[in-house]
């Protein structure tokens, strides 16, 4: 089985690697292809949409849209904290959801943060990581971007459990999912510009930053220190 997987890897990457690839990124050839596709998609569709959203929708409205989607994500964050044995954090997330849904008017105001209940960042990829799963090979997913085998499986679980998936009719669900996508991309406009400016090789810079970021998230910002040589 392992040998089959390995030969598949070589089949996919054989044409593009120079033999000195990064061991964390065995599919680099394929990933770079998807990365180029994503960049084109971003240039033509996602970034223009996000820029228009930022430029034409007033900040107060955008903040409320962000809060609304953020609130809907809190129950799943609570579940993931629970699955990781972090009961207090899970309770905080539960309180956040209750407070913001009621006092915060369906989540458009993040009153919980003002009361000192901070938002957490959890998902199934992090839960699997906490349970001991290694990230596995780095993957660039179409449209969705940086991921790993572990985080990709986690993402599928996140989507399965996403409350937005329950919205009917389907047209409305799709619209809401697109609005959320635009909102997320709009929040990343500055980061994208920074990456553009800072990186010598954007693909490598983004990959390394993503892998560090996910490692840090799995350990809730306190990863064991890596040795610099």
């Amino acid at each position: 089985m392992k040998r089959l997987l390995l030969s598949l890897v070589f089949l996919v990457t054989g044409c593009a690697t120079t033999g000195e690839g990064d061991p964390r990124d065995p599919f680099e050839g394929l990933n770079r292809g998807v990365y180029r596709f994503n960049e084109t998609f971003d240039n033509i569709v996602a970034r223009p949409a996000a820029t228009a959203y930022r430029d034409f929708v007033p900040r107060g409205v955008r903040d409320r849209v962000r809060n609304f989607f953020s609130n809907l994500s809190d129950p799943l964050i609570a579940i993931n904290n629970l699955l990781q044995g972090k009961v207090n954090e899970a309770l905080d997330d539960g309180w956040r959801f209750i407070l913001n849904t009621t006092v915060g008017l369906a989540g458009i105001h993040d009153v919980a943060t003002d009361l000192g209940l901070e938002k957490h960042n959890e998902d199934f990829g992090q839960t699997f990581g906490r349970w001991g799963a290694d990230p596995g090979p780095y993957l660039v997913l179409p449209i969705l971007g940086s991921s790993t085998l572990r985080d990709g499986i986690g993402l599928a679980a996140d989507w399965y459990a996403d409350p937005l998936g329950e919205i009917r009719p389907i047209n409305l669900r799709n619209t809401v999912v697109v609005v959320r996508g635009v909102q997320i991309r709009a929040d990343l406009l500055e980061a994208g510009r920074l990456l553009e400016e800072a990186a010598l090789d954007k693909y490598v810079f983004q990959r390394d930053a993503y892998l560090q970021r996910r490692r840090s998230l799995v350990y809730d910002g306190r990863p064991p220190r890596e040795r610099f040589d």
Binding site: L194, L200, V204, F205, D208, E226, F228
Partner: protein, 209 residues
């Protein structure tokens, strides 16, 4: 007599260590002072708010740069490749990397807009010479962004040698890139690469104004 001697000795010892002991702010105080000063200066400067990048960079040059150790940063970002560079190359690498980092830092700072800052209490022993100072940027509808400054104690005060944003180390993010370029085109190739990156950023910045 014995007392007088020991007093004299401890006075002498005090003189010897005083530039270190009294001339240095604790690292967390240093980070807070500098951060608040820079944030205030930016908030009260109309030209910087209007996007004057050159002025922002000169502000960073004056207020922030003295607290960074760019040689350590460059050496860490280069990893094993650092040893392959000679003294002249090292000096050029530090200079180019510094220019790039300052530009990136200016870009990141100009994205800052009145979010609340939470300066975390320092968790370190007084004898530590390598500490992490944590600042968090609080925001609504999203988890706080952690900014961790890795700092080392030097004769000239505490110096930052890495910045981690949201768990991503600036220095480590460059390491693979740098090593790839050194592997493919040597130290000179990396210097050229950094130089042309800086030039193109400068040109783009000039165009915007």
């Amino acid at each position: 007599m014995k007392l007088a001697l020991s007093l004299t000795l401890s006075f002498l010892a005090g003189l010897l260590v005083s530039p270190h002991a009294y001339g240095q702010q604790p690292p967390d105080v240093l980070v807070r002072t500098v951060t608040l000063e820079v944030v205030d200066l930016i908030a009260s400067d109309r030209e910087i708010k209007a996007g004057d990048r050159a002025k922002l960079i000169s502000l960073i040059d004056a207020k922030v740069l003295p607290h960074f150790n760019f040689e350590s940063m460059t050496a860490l970002a280069m990893g094993q490749s650092w040893r392959k560079a000679d003294a002249a190359q090292k000096a050029r690498l530090v200079q180019e990397f510094k220019t790039l980092l300052v530009r990136t830092y200016a870009s990141a700072l100009s994205a800052y807009s009145d979010q609340k800052l939470d300066f975390r209490p320092l968790r370190a022993r007084p004898t530590d010479t390598d500490v992490t100072v944590q600042v968090r940027v609080l925001q609504q509808g999203a988890e706080p962004v952690a900014i961790d400054y890795s700092m080392e104690k030097t004769a000239a005060g505490w110096k930052v040698y890495d910045v981690m944003v949201g768990g991503v180390s600036l220095v480590a993010s460059y390491r693979t890139e740098f090593n790839n370029i050194v592997r493919d085109s040597g130290i000179e190739g990396l210097i050229k690469n950094l130089d042309s990156k800086n030039r193109s950023l400068e040109a783009a910045g000039a165009q915007k104004r």
